[in-house]
């Protein structure tokens, strides 16, 4: 079946859109990066560790990672009203959870590391691109990290699993429609984030996780290469 399946943009089922990654795009920030899946672009900047204000938010046990995901108003065809929404608030938290396991913030007691993610151009999978950019920005900022994380969305279009959904695929209506499963992995294969919207059986979901694991290895190489280019 997979040989016959045609994706709207002609990609193979396990093919990620062209990836671009760049580190050091915001001079003011302690660390920053851009990550691109085709027409989806995310930029991220890291500030900190710095003292947490207001004081009552300070955690005397360990440092705090604080993420903020925001889509620019013109990033999609139908303008988004500027400012936070329920969606962006939830995604911000999801990204925090996806990144926290790799960041060694135990020693930054009472301090905060801010990660700001903005989407200037969107064609689906923006949270995945955001997580990839954020992980790179944290590394660029010199925050001690156990590992990088890489994130990708797996889609089920009717019955077919595909890697890295674009907007057209996200809106797939034929057959069983679209299922969107963004997944984030550490490089050593631990899952730090998974979400799902649609419908899928457990067998196929297990396959989706395997596909994501494979795709994240590819993404990791792109992130690593961009980070290595800083010194050059």
């Amino acid at each position: 079946m997979s040989k016959e399946f045609k994706r709207p943009d002609g990609r193979k089922v396990d093919e990620i859109r062209e990836m671009k990654a760049k580190v050091g795009i915001v001079p003011n920030a302690d660390g920053s990066a851009m990550f691109q899946f085709g027409d989806t672009i995310a930029i991220a900047a890291v500030y900190g560790p710095k003292k947490m204000h207001p004081q009552h938010l300070q955690n005397p046990e360990k440092g705090t990672l604080r993420c903020n995901y925001n889509m620019m108003s013109f990033s999609v065809t139908d303008r988004i009203r500027p400012g936070p929404s329920r969606r962006s608030t939830e995604i911000s938290k999801i990204i925090e959870w996806a990144l926290e396991p790799i960041v060694m913030i135990d020693k930054y007691k009472n301090m905060v590391i801010d990660v700001h993610i903005n989407i200037p151009q969107a064609n689906a999978s923006t949270r995945c691109a955001g997580i990839n950019a954020a992980a790179m920005a944290l590394a660029h900022a010199g925050i001690p990290m156990k590992d990088l994380v890489s994130s990708v969305s797996i889609g089920k279009l009717d019955k077919q699993l595909v890697v890295d959904l674009n907007k057209k695929e996200e809106d797939w209506e034929e057959g069983e429609g679209a299922t969107d499963i963004p997944i984030t992995f550490t490089n050593d294969g631990k899952m730090t984030h998974i979400q799902l919207d649609g419908k899928i059986n457990t067998k196929q979901l297990n396959e989706a996780v395997e596909l994501a694991r494979k795709a994240c290895k590819e993404i990791y190489e792109v992130q690593k290469k961009a980070l290595k280019e800083i010194g050059e």
Binding site: P27, N28, S32, M72, S73, F74, S75, P82, N118, P120
Partner: protein
Amino acid sequence: MDKELTISNLTGNKIKKYLAEGKRFDNRKPDEFREIVIETGISKNAEGSAKVKVGKTEVWVGIKMNVAEPYPDSLDKGNLMVTAELLPLSSPRFESGPPRFPAIELGRLTDRAIRESKFIDFKKLCIKEGEKVWTVFIDIYSINDDGNLLDAAVLGTIAALKDAKIPKYDKKEEKVLFGEWTKDKLPLSKEIPISITAYKVGDKFIVDPTRDEEDISETRVTVGSSNGVISSMQKGESQELEVAEFKEILELITKVERNIFKKLEKL
């Protein structure tokens, strides 16, 4: 704002001492801008978009359009809506949350520079008088703040407006076909407006301050004009100005405008 985020008195005094001799830390003359780099078409889903770098300061601007009812006092004209966000991504000084005064002022000043210069022909953006007109949304985002966001925002706005194409509109269904564009550009005047801000530092005047220079400036005047005709102006911050100083500012800005204008003509 955190005390530690603003510059020290020591640096401030040094900047003023240098300026007294007509010098700046980065070797520019008082009336000299940093390098301006403009790139258009940075976001595919926007009607028009641009990024502008002025030295290390960077601003991204996107244009979106939608059809709405006209305002009661301009039934045959399109609407303009300008918002600016000082992204926390762009500076350790900016915090998340509702827009504070500097972001509001940035949007307002840009709005007036565009609106008052009549750069956009809003009559041509009327679809059906009293019922349906185009709204032009200009959204400005700071990406890196190293001073003079005020002038950078207007430069970016001009570039994005010139880049913009009008979306397709289904007259029968009365709805915009988002993501599909006509070949029509926005109806723009040939006279390009620019906005230049003069900053008083010590008792000298400069344009295009870096973050440090802007920090120690006690007053500024923003002038929007096109083809030598001034159409918007605002004095910011609280220090008073002598009339002679005001005249000096106008001279400075007129001179600077000519140089910036050459850059914009190439767009």
